[in-house]
């Protein structure tokens, strides 16, 4: 390998000479301590290198060693529950080496080389496999089964494979490729972070990713494989919203990238996630989580790399057939890292000093999200297992393949196919909360869900401070069918009605501000009260209250039903002469307000609320007898 020399040092950027055979984005080792760096520009024989560690003390003449390989991550058993820095060094290994403070020049492999994993093959000798095929499984922890795959680009026949305990680099078997060469099969794959992992094809995402947060799930839902962004000024609750999704979403694997954010926030995640129970598996949340922590005071170039490290890991779990959520908090810090490096390269700046390629980089990052049919030769994991059980040979594998080809025209994959998804939720920290700044604008071009956080709402302690008037989700129509089947046929209609009430409230609020609430018609006054109820009793959700932080879709539907029932009954009662004051003072309103905290026997409680609405509104009005005809059931 080439050995070059430093000629210039300017902050995180180092320029070196004498690396003729290196390529763009190759990894190099800088200085006598061997600091990690990546080539990001080449002019004649000068290579500009962004260094992932502090460069203090480097000077012209220091050595630079080429490695000939791009910046890559190690993929295999052992990633879950780990905490990595931006270039996949496990932080606990760094702590073991240097103590509480991170010093320079430390090396630690992304995957533990000593730890042995129990490998169970699902294919057998003689089977034909291709890149992406599952050859065996490892129970990585009690939640996630790690599916060991043939690396993309390799195909051939299994020569040998056996169960046993292996480290990630031990051969578990051998494969004879089509060209006659043999390859050891190991559990670990190495993949360059800036190259998307291949898949068979992208498919339309149509299944909701539920988060337990009412304003998101009901009003601005995201799908598995979808992309969302959360822009908002500081203090509006970006990070809490991100944490809520990491905690309660129904994804199987969560990759959380703390990109240039606070150290204490990562500590919070680290201390809380082992304690919290995953509502779906009942196991600690940390077991399904990979953390990438590159806090704001850690080197800026590693921050630039951290989002790529994270998304490559996400794609790897997707390839196994899992639904993955990747959260990047915050993409603005990533963009700023790009800006800083770009400035040092003396590139011509675009908007606000950001590089001209900001939009392209953001778009190609978000585009790595999506629901896909995973790379494999056959129907999927089940197929591979069936094959293993039947000890089938190449004939059976090709039969499976032809089945696949036949069903290609089918809607979105059959049950036999292995599909996986990566959903990306990126937070954006616009300077001064100004949504016209370049990072927000470039992000909005590619994301389909926009959760706009408002500091005015946060000041009123309306959390989550997601502004219902400006936020949007373009996935709504895609999942309406799913809602009708899984939640209730009226859910979409209820949601739309509430949305309309909130919109109308906004218009009326102007009038109220000018001439007072008395100027409104009684129907409008009822609408204003209903809107307030939607805001306070439905949209507001306390992330720190055990009985409020998670709300199932079914509960969300029932809650909306109650609010709307009150609304309609109130209008009816008023039409029959009940005074507005009496209607608004009905004790059932407090019952509705507390309905979101219900923990036990919610169904019965909701029914009780429904009957109270009837008795209190209709039952107390002066025209009780007359309205009785409308008041079905209880009275």
């Amino acid at each position: 390998m080439d050995q070059g020399r430093i000629v210039k040092v300017a902050g995180p950027l180092v320029v070196a000479e004498g690396l003729p055979s290196s390529k763009m984005y190759d990894l190099v080792r800088v200085g006598t301590e061997g600091l990690m760096g990546e080539i990001i520009e080449m002019r004649a024989d000068r290579a500009s290198i962004q260094v992932y560690e502090e460069t203090e003390g480097l000077g012209p003449g220091d050595p630079v060693e080429a490695t000939g390989a791009p910046l890559s991550v190690e993929l295999g058993p052992g990633m879950l529950e780990a905490v990595y820095d931006g270039v996949q060094r496990p932080l606990d290994a760094l702590e073991a080496q240097s103590g509480a403070f991170i010093t320079r020049g430390m090396n630690a492999p992304g995957l533990d080389r000593e730890k042995r994993w129990e490998f169970t093959p699902v294919v057998s000798a003689g089977d034909r496999v291709e890149g992406g095929d599952i050859i065996g499984t490892v129970p990585e922890n009690t939640v996630i089964e790690h599916r060991v795959m043939v690396p993309p680009g390799i195909s051939g026949a299994i020569e040998s494979i056996s169960a046993g305990e292996y480290t990630v680099t031990d051969p578990v078997g051998r494969l004879v490729a089509d060209d006659g060469t043999t390859h050891d099969l190991v559990m670990m794959q190495v993949w360059p972070v800036r190259v998307p992992r291949p898949y068979k094809k992208k498919i339309a995402a149509d299944e909701p990713l539920t988060t337990g947060t009412r304003v998101i799930d009901t009003f601005f839902p995201i799908v598995k494989g979808g992309v969302a962004c959360i822009p908002g000024p500081f203090g509006a609750g970006k990070t809490v919203t991100q944490h809520q999704i990491a905690k309660w979403s129904n994804a199987e694997v969560v990759i959380f990238i703390g990109c240039g954010e606070r150290g204490n926030e990562m500590t919070d995640v680290l201390m809380e996630f082992p304690e919290l129970e995953d509502p779906y598996s009942g196991e600690p949340l940390l077991k399904r989580t990979v953390l990438v922590a590159n806090t704001s005071n850690m080197p800026v170039a590693a921050r630039e790399a951290s989002v790529y490290t994270g998304i490559t890991m996400a794609e790897y779990f997707r390839d196994m057939g899992y639904d993955v959520v990747l959260q990047a908090d915050s993409t603005s810090r990533w963009a700023e890292a790009m800006r800083e490096i770009s400035g040092r390269l003396e590139e011509m700046p675009g908007d606000e000093g950001f590089p001209a390629y900001l939009g392209t980089r953001l778009a190609s990052f978000y585009e790595r999200a999506g629901k896909v049919e995973c790379l494999s030769s056959d129907g999927g994991a089940e197929g591979a297992r069936a094959q293993a059980a039947g000890s089938g040979g190449p004939e059976e594998a090709s039969a499976a393949r032809s089945v696949r080809e036949d069903s290609d025209e089918g809607p979105t994959g059959t049950a036999a196919k292995r599909t996986g998804s990566v959903s990306v939720v990126g937070s954006v920290s616009p300077p001064g909360g100004d949504l016209s700044e370049p990072v927000v604008q470039n992000t909005l071009r590619v994301v389909k869900v926009f959760w706009a956080l408002q500091d005015q709402l946060a000041f009123q302690r309306h959390f989550p401070a997601i502004d219902w008037l400006t936020s949007y989700s373009l996935y709504l129509d895609k999942i309406t069918g799913h809602w009708a089947e899984e939640v209730s046929p009226e859910f979409r209609a209820r949601r739309d009605e509430c949305m309309a009430i909130l919109q109308r409230e906004n218009e009326l609020a102007e009038i109220v501000r000018l001439v007072g609430v008395e100027a409104l018609s009684p129907e409008e006054q009822i609408l204003m009260e209903t809107a307030k109820s939607i805001r306070e009793d439905f949209l507001q959700q306390n992330a720190f209250r055990d009985d409020d932080q998670f709300s199932s879709l079914h509960e969300q539907d029932r809650l909306l039903e109650m609010i709307l029932l009150f609304h309609k009954t109130a209008i009816r009662a008023h039409e029959h002469g009940a005074a507005l004051k009496e209607i608004f003072a009905a004790p059932v309103r407090e019952h509705i307000a507390r309905a979101k905290y219900l923990t036990e026997d919610r169904a019965a409680e909701f029914d009780e609320i429904a009957s109270e609405i009837e008795t209190q509104l209709v039952g107390t009005g002066p025209l009780r007898e007359e309205t009785a005809v409308y008041a079905g059931g209880e009275r």
Partner: protein, 474 residues
């Protein structure tokens, strides 16, 4: 010792030195000007045999022909020792009180090293500052960085001094009851950047009068001191703080004032380097640079000490979206915002409760820390105050008569809240029990049905009843 007299350019605080050898990035430089004055600097960039040096103490008196430049082969360091307590230093860590030099226990690079996130311990020890607007609504916890966003002419110095004077951690080993003040070694590290002599003198006086000076280390870079020196001052202070916290097991409160002048010094250097500016001419790396200061707050597992930061910054034109408060807010764990209107109305401390925030309060309050009802009550007070202010705006347009009865109750609440909860004396040290008791008295002004954010059980237990049994809460 490598000494050169090959200065080619002098631009503002920067010098370009030619024909140098073996210079490294970040290296400390000693400059000797023709008249014999000496000044420190460091290497910002080195390109083959050309080094770019920033002079901390300015370049007045320098010329290209006779200036001697010595590269010292190490980075800027501070010799730290327990003996620093009670001493005053200049912005580069040299004694400024006429006392003897410190005999360092160890010399540390002022740039520090990032704390490994896995080694951090989460800050969750409530600090009782004795200020209701902070303790009740936006509590400070040990290891937090909570800036004061202020404006020119507002009493941020008084508030910072009051916090430094009164801060105590409660000992809650006694169970559910609110604990008494816990024992522990405290220290205050104070860094002044570009503030006036009068402001600095106020703090020194304040520390002297309360004999807190013996537990304080002061670094002073005043308004007439070299601007570029300010870039080093907060790092000097934090290096001393880290030593006291992690080597001497002390709980250190670091006050940095005024971060605005620090950022301006950074901008000055950036402009002299002709870097591509970000917003309002501040360098694009301002966020990263500020993070390397603020993120040095925290607690580390297995060490007893902690570093709590209270940076002060004056917002130009009270504009919170100005890059300095904006980027600060994105790094720090909340902010205490001072409000000019409250100040004009004579309310001290003029804490604007609504835009203020403490991100760590959820972890620092509740049973075993303060009291079970603290979180709910503070949410309720926030919400009610916000609604009261809204109703007041309405009353301005429509007149008080147009308000509904509920709204009138909230207006009355908002006024009482400002007068009794926020307002207190600069030397009034309220215990958290007192703060909560006032909060409940105010909550009692609201209709019972509006107390939606408080669990029923707490309302039953703590809400003062009509027959004047107001001490039920304490």
């Amino acid at each position: 010792m490598r000494e050169y007299m090959t200065t080619r350019d002098i631009v503002g605080p920067l010098l370009l030195i030619e024909s140098v050898a073996d210079v490294t990035y970040g290296e400390l430089v000693e400059l000797e000007f023709p008249d014999g004055t000496r000044s420190l600097g460091n290497v910002l960039e080195v390109d083959r045999d050309v080094a770019l040096v920033q002079a901390f103490e300015g370049t007045r008196g320098a010329n290209t022909a006779q200036t001697k430049v010595r590269f010292l082969g190490r980075s800027l360091e501070l010799g730290v020792s327990r003996d620093m307590l009670g001493r005053v230093f200049d912005g580069l860590g040299r004694p400024a009180d006429g006392g003897p030099d410190i005999i360092p226990d160890v010399r540390r690079s002022i740039y520090g090293s990032p704390i490994n996130p896995t080694a951090r311990d989460f800050p969750d020890d409530f600090i009782q500052t004795g200020v209701s607007a902070i303790d009740g609504l936006n509590p400070l916890v040990r290891g937090q960085k909570l800036p004061i966003f202020s404006g020119s002419g507002l009493p941020h110095n008084q508030l910072a001094a009051q916090i430094a004077r009164q801060s105590a951690v409660l000992d809650c080993t006694g169970g559910d009851e609110i604990g008494c003040k816990a024992e522990g070694e405290f220290a205050v590290v104070f860094a002044a950047m570009g503030i006036t002599f009068a402001d600095a003198d106020f703090f020194i006086d304040e520390f002297r009068n309360t004999s807190a000076i013996e537990r304080a280390v002061l670094f002073l870079n005043l308004a007439d001191d070299p601007a570029v020196e300010r870039i080093a001052t907060p790092r000097m202070a934090l290096t001393a703080a880290e030593y006291l916290a992690y080597d001497c097991d002390m709980h250190v409160l670091v006050i940095l004032t005024d971060m605005t002048y620090y950022c301006e010094a950074l901008r000055e250097v950036s402009a002299a380097r002709k870097e591509v500016p970000g917003r309002r001419g501040y360098p694009g790396y301002l966020y990263t640079d500020l993070a390397t200061i603020y993120e040095r707050a925290g607690r580390v597992k297995g060490r007893h000490g902690s570093i709590t930061q209270v940076p002060i910054l004056t917002m130009p034109d009270d504009d919170k979206t100005h890059p300095i408060p904006d980027l600060t807010g994105y790094i720090t764990e909340g902010q205490i915002v001072l409000d000019r209107n409250l100040h004009r109305r004579g309310i001290y401390p003029p804490v604007a409760v609504l835009p203020s925030l403490s991100r760590l309060k959820q972890k620092g309050i509740g049973p075993g820390k303060t009291r079970e009802d603290h979180a709910d009550l503070s949410n309720q007070l926030f919400g009610a105050y916000a609604r009261g202010l809204q109703a007041k705006e309405l009353a301005v347009i429509l007149g008080e008569a147009a308000l509904s009865d509920d709204d009138k109750a909230f207006v009355a609440f908002a006024d009482a809240f400002e007068d009794r909860f926020i307002r207190q004396g600069p030397h009034e040290d309220r215990s958290i029990a007192d703060t909560l008791a006032i909060g409940w008295e105010l909550a009692a002004l609201l209709p019972r049905t509006e107390l939606k954010r408080i669990k029923d059980a707490y309302v039953e237990k703590y809400l003062p009843t009509d027959d004047g049994e107001e001490d039920a809460a304490s």
